[in-house]
């Protein structure tokens, strides 16, 4: 231990005297600071938006409750039973529209500033609006096509997405290894070339102790300046800027970063053990760096896309447009028939007096002229044959969405399959490239990876379906909603990943990376036994 301490002190003094080491440390700090600053871009806005949209929904429910309560009061004072079927604010029919304008924002998680990840690729905001847009061309949301769901338009210059963002992930994955290589490419070869190594070994100190001392000091420097300090910057920055920082995620990130840093030290250690010159070591390590950070990840992308080619956007757009046109056309046929019969039976009813139309209830069997409605009815036999005008409107809408989903499900399933396949290929092949694997890990930890986004869209999708079915059932039952039940009406609440789930997803890959690292270190130690101190 005493010898180790002596070596550490010696190495520290040597590094202090080495101008290159100063430059490296200063660069590490500067780059980390810039990366952290960038990571916060957009985060505050996203967090603010999450808060304000939640407040907006709270206000909407509050106002709706008040309107219903006022109506109930009025009904009581006029002696009208408030639970009589009506076309008033407390009817499920109108409530569905009243509460149909809401936006859900994927909130930034407790360590989001560490990686911008896919935040700018996948939509972070989903808005549900009934009858805002009857356009048959709805945008897709990731891999789902959700009726009446709109994504916030991405106002990011595509050039910016192409160049990528200078966040902590980029700095850690691409630049930190270069710092490590700059500090350690001549771990022993430098001393060997200058003759110092032979001199050191004449004292009662082993090569292993020298190696350990050098290795440890550099590891500590990089760990502090390139891992710990930036991570603390993110943690406290999030607390101040966003009011939300997660200590478990901070620990997870520093662990993942440390494993990555350790890997690169192991590579440097291994290359040094071959006994070549410092210049040769530098060359080999540069090639390693280029291969592992650039070439392999590119190759992984290519293989993933070759094995599971993505469904082209053109193909989806073309099919989606056709299906939606067909659906609109079929819906139009039914409405034309219905209106024709209605106007024939009740020619005096004004065209724009919807409530009067609604009052002439259950007078017509709805037309089953085409497959749009009849298919839906056959799947839901409990739907009565005769419906009011409003009810048929809701049913048509629901059956149209069901028709579209049914027709598009082959291409959507194909898209899902290809994306899942690509994901699996990338995850497996990334084991060969620590840079790629670490990228995926960092995105997961920051909550800006594909998993969390899929959860968000999946939960929203599930909610929209349940909500639509909930209101349809109530409309078909001509149910009213008393004020006391307003707070029980469906509201979307995103259930976020727990840090433990993230750790579980990431942990396996970290262990494998550690295995490779220790294999490299042990191989190097065996080779160092034959290391020639003079040459």
């Amino acid at each position: 231990m005493r010898i180790l301490k002596t070596i550490l002190v010696y190495e520290w003094r040597m590094l202090l005297a080495d101008r290159m080491a100063h430059i490296v440390i200063l660069l590490m700090l500067t780059i980390s600071a810039y990366a952290i600053f960038n990571g916060f871009s957009g985060l505050r806005v996203q967090a603010e938006k999450f808060r304000s949209e939640n407040e907006k929904i709270d206000r909407l429910y509050e106002e709706t409750w008040k309107k219903i309560a006022d109506f109930e009061e009025k009904a009581r004072s006029q002696g009208i039973p408030a639970d009589e079927p009506s076309a008033e604010i407390n009817s499920a029919h109108l409530l569905k529209f009243e509460l149909s304008d809401f936006t859900s924002v994927l909130p930034p998680n407790g360590f989001a500033a560490s990686s911008i990840g896919l935040r700018e690729v996948y939509p972070q905001t989903l808005t549900y609006q009934k009858y805002r847009d009857e356009s048959p061309s709805q945008p897709t949301v990731g891999n789902r096509s959700l009726g009446n769901v709109f994504v916030e338009k991405n106002r990011i210059n595509p050039l910016r997405m192409f160049t990528g963002r200078f966040d902590l992930t980029f700095a850690t994955i691409f630049i930190t290894p270069l710092f490590i290589l700059a500090l350690s490419f001549n771990l022993l070869s430098g001393d060997k070339e200058s003759g110092v190594l032979a001199l050191m070994l004449t004292n009662s100190v082993s090569l292993t102790e020298i190696l350990l001392g050098k290795f440890l000091l550099r590891l500590i420097i990089v760990k502090v300046f390139a891992v710990l300090l930036p991570a603390l910057g993110i943690y406290f920055g999030q607390l101040l800027a966003v009011g939300n920082a997660s200590f478990p995620l901070f620990l997870l990130w520093t662990t993942a970063a440390f494993v990555y840093v350790l890997f690169w030290f192991a590579v440097s250690f291994l290359v040094g053990s071959f006994g070549h010159s410092s210049a040769f070591n530098a060359l080999i390590l540069s090639i390693f760096w280029g291969t592992l950070t650039l070439i392999l990840p590119l190759g992984i992308n290519i293989i993933a896309e070759a094995v599971y080619p993505p469904v082209p956007g053109i193909q989806y757009t073309d099919e989606a447009h056709k299906v939606r046109l067909d659906a609109k056309s079929l819906e139009g046929e039914i409405l034309v028939d219905y209106n024709t019969e209605f106007n024939t039976r009740f020619p005096q009813t004004p065209q724009n007096k919807m409530r009067e139309k609604e009052r002439l209830t259950e007078i017509l069997a709805f037309p089953d002229r085409n497959s749009l409605l009849s298919d839906y009815i056959s799947e839901h036999p409990s739907i009565p044959k005769n419906l009011t005008y409003y009810q048929i409107g809701h049913l048509l809408e629901r059956s149209r969405e069901s028709y579209i989903e049914r027709k598009l499900s082959p291409i959507l399933e194909q898209t899902d399959r290809q994306r899942n396949g690509q994901r699996k290929v990338v995850e497996w092949l990334s084991l060969l490239s620590p840079a790629a694997q670490t990228r995926l890990n960092f995105d997961e930890i920051a909550g800006n990876g594909s998993t969390r986004h899929r959860n968000f869209v999946g939960q929203f999708d599930e909610f929209v379906r349940k909500r639509d079915q909930f209101y349809l059932d109530k409309v078909l039952a001509k149910a009213n909603v008393p004020s006391g039940e307003v707070s029980d009406l469906p509201r979307f609440v995103f259930v976020d990943d727990k840090p433990f789930s993230v750790a579980f997803r990431v942990g396996g890959y970290l262990l494998i990376q550690l295995l490779f690292t220790f294999a490299a270190i042990f191989s190097a130690l065996r080779l160092y036994r034959k290391y020639e101190p003079i040459g």
């Binding site: 048959p136 061309s137 160049t163 200078f166 757009t317 024709t340 990228r439």
Partner: protein, 460 residues
């Protein structure tokens, strides 16, 4: 170089990578072209066979147009993955590009997509660094530089010789590209490459490679050791190829902030005021038309009054949409121009811009397409509105619908399909001039530095 295996590995990697990325790029590009052609044919068929209740509904059902790819996009996909390939055209609205490819494939987004362009922009310079860093510094370290000079070879000849020693093997490998380009132009009739764009592409990459080669030799000539030479060159490569592009795009956003959705919403006219204005205009027009046609009821007009109002609102909506679209793309344009100017700091920025512009995969080309699509949209919506105006509704709505449906195919056939005129090479040069200037600046700088380094080169 040959003896220590560097030449073999570097040329080998380049050959494999170029071949792979070319195959991938060409196959991908052909597939996309075929799909686009199929989709356009489908869209036309859907358009003609559409069944709807009126011309304005047809305008809302709209149609989809697809952005074509240029021949060189097989080699540089540029921003293609980050911008959708289709736009939906309908009444009242100006849509944006839809369905980005990156949403399907973006898992390892930070590493780029394999392409010939990426190989030439990132990997080729790295290989040049690995080949050329010890070119002169290594000779000096080994003591052989003094011997070479003592044989009567001048420093200038040495410098040029070293340059050619690295240049020839790489050039031979890259000349494959020339063969491929010509092969493509024979094979790919629909998407024949524009000769002007090919020349810009090839010349720019040659200059870019020459810049890196020159810089490597200058550093090697002046560095005190191969270690220092490698460190400086790798740092330069890292800064030019990876770091400065990101900082440049950050600066673009800082100096020319992209408007937010809230900023754009603020450009919309006040709803209450618009409604009031609309009602006033409606009343005014009603009076004028009733006076003109000498009727006392708007339903007795020989034209459809509601369609006239729709047409007017189409006009004002188009102006507002254009203002919004222009505001966003003007900022993108400024950001991209700044990116080009910053090519004076790093040649990679210049070559990236020239390459993606030549391939037609940049913001300027996308805007050009979007503007053309918008002009087409406005025209066909106007035509449909004119039909509505000249065919007033009957008292029995169902009869109006049936009459429309008898003539609707003819109406749709009268609207020509969208044909996109690609921009010219002169237009391209205008959009790329800053990047070209940047590259030429670097060429001049490196040439001057080469001359200076030859004079300052130390033999021992």
């Amino acid at each position: 170089m040959r003896r220590d295996g560097r030449l073999f590995w570097c040329v080998g990697i380049l050959l494999v990578w170029i071949t792979l990325s070319t195959i991938v790029g060409v196959i991908h590009s052909r597939e996309i072209s075929l799909q686009r052609q199929q989709a356009e044919a489908n869209q036309r068929e859907q358009w003609l066979n559409k069944k709807t209740v009126g011309a304005h509904m047809a305008a809302h059902q709209g149609l989809v147009v697809f952005r074509p790819n240029f021949a060189l996009s097989a080699f540089d996909q540029g921003l293609n993955d980050y911008v959708g390939a289709s736009m939906f055209l309908e009444a009242h609205r100006r849509s944006e590009f839809q369905n980005k490819e990156i949403e399907q494939t973006g898992l390892l987004i930070g590493f780029g997509q394999m392409s010939v362009a990426l190989t030439l922009q990132l990997i080729l310079p790295l290989l040049i660094v690995l080949l050329a860093y010890p070119a002169i510094a290594g000779e000096r370290e080994n003591g052989t530089l003094r011997q070479i000079i003592s044989l009567g070879i001048s420093k200038k000849e040495l410098f040029v010789g070293k340059a050619l020693g690295v240049f020839f093997p790489l050039a031979a490998t890259l000349s494959l590209l020339l063969v491929i380009f010509f092969g493509l132009s024979l094979m790919n009739g629909e998407n024949s490459p524009d000769l002007g764009r090919i020349v810009i592409f090839l010349v720019s990459y040659s200059v870019y490679a020459a810049i890196f080669l020159g810089f490597c030799l200058v550093v090697s000539a002046l560095a005190s050791s191969t270690r220092v030479s490698l460190a400086i060159l790798l740092t330069f490569w890292l800064l030019s190829c990876l770091v400065i592009p990101k900082i440049a795009s950050d600066l673009g956003e800082i100096f020319y902030k992209t408007p937010t959705e809230a900023d754009l919403q603020a450009m919309l006219p006040d709803k209450e005021q618009s409604r009031k204005q609309y009602l006033e205009e409606t009343e005014q027009l009603k009076k004028e038309l009733m006076a003109k046609y000498n009727v006392n009821d708007v339903n007795k007009l020989p034209v459809r009054f509601s369609a006239i109002m729709l047409d007017r609102s189409e006009d004002s909506a188009a102006k507002i949409n254009k203002a919004i679209f222009d505001r966003v793309y003007d900022q993108y344009g400024k950001q991209n121009s700044l990116y080009q100017i910053l090519g004076f700091l790093a040649p990679t920025l210049s070559i990236q811009t020239i390459s993606m512009n030549a391939a037609g995969e940049d913001v300027f080309h996308y805007r050009h397409f979007a503007d053309s699509a918008e002009e087409y949209r406005f025209r066909f919506v106007r035509l449909l509105n004119e039909y509505s105006i000249n065919h007033p509704l009957k008292s029995n709505l169902d009869e109006s619908v049936k009459e429309f449906q008898k003539n609707e195919r003819e109406l749709y056939e009268s609207i020509e399909p969208f044909v996109y005129e690609k921009p010219t090479t002169i237009w391209l040069l205008d959009k790329t001039k800053n990047a070209i200037a940047g590259l030429l600046f670097w060429l001049g700088l490196i040439s001057a530095a080469a001359v200076w380094s030859v004079r300052k080169m130390e033999v021992i």
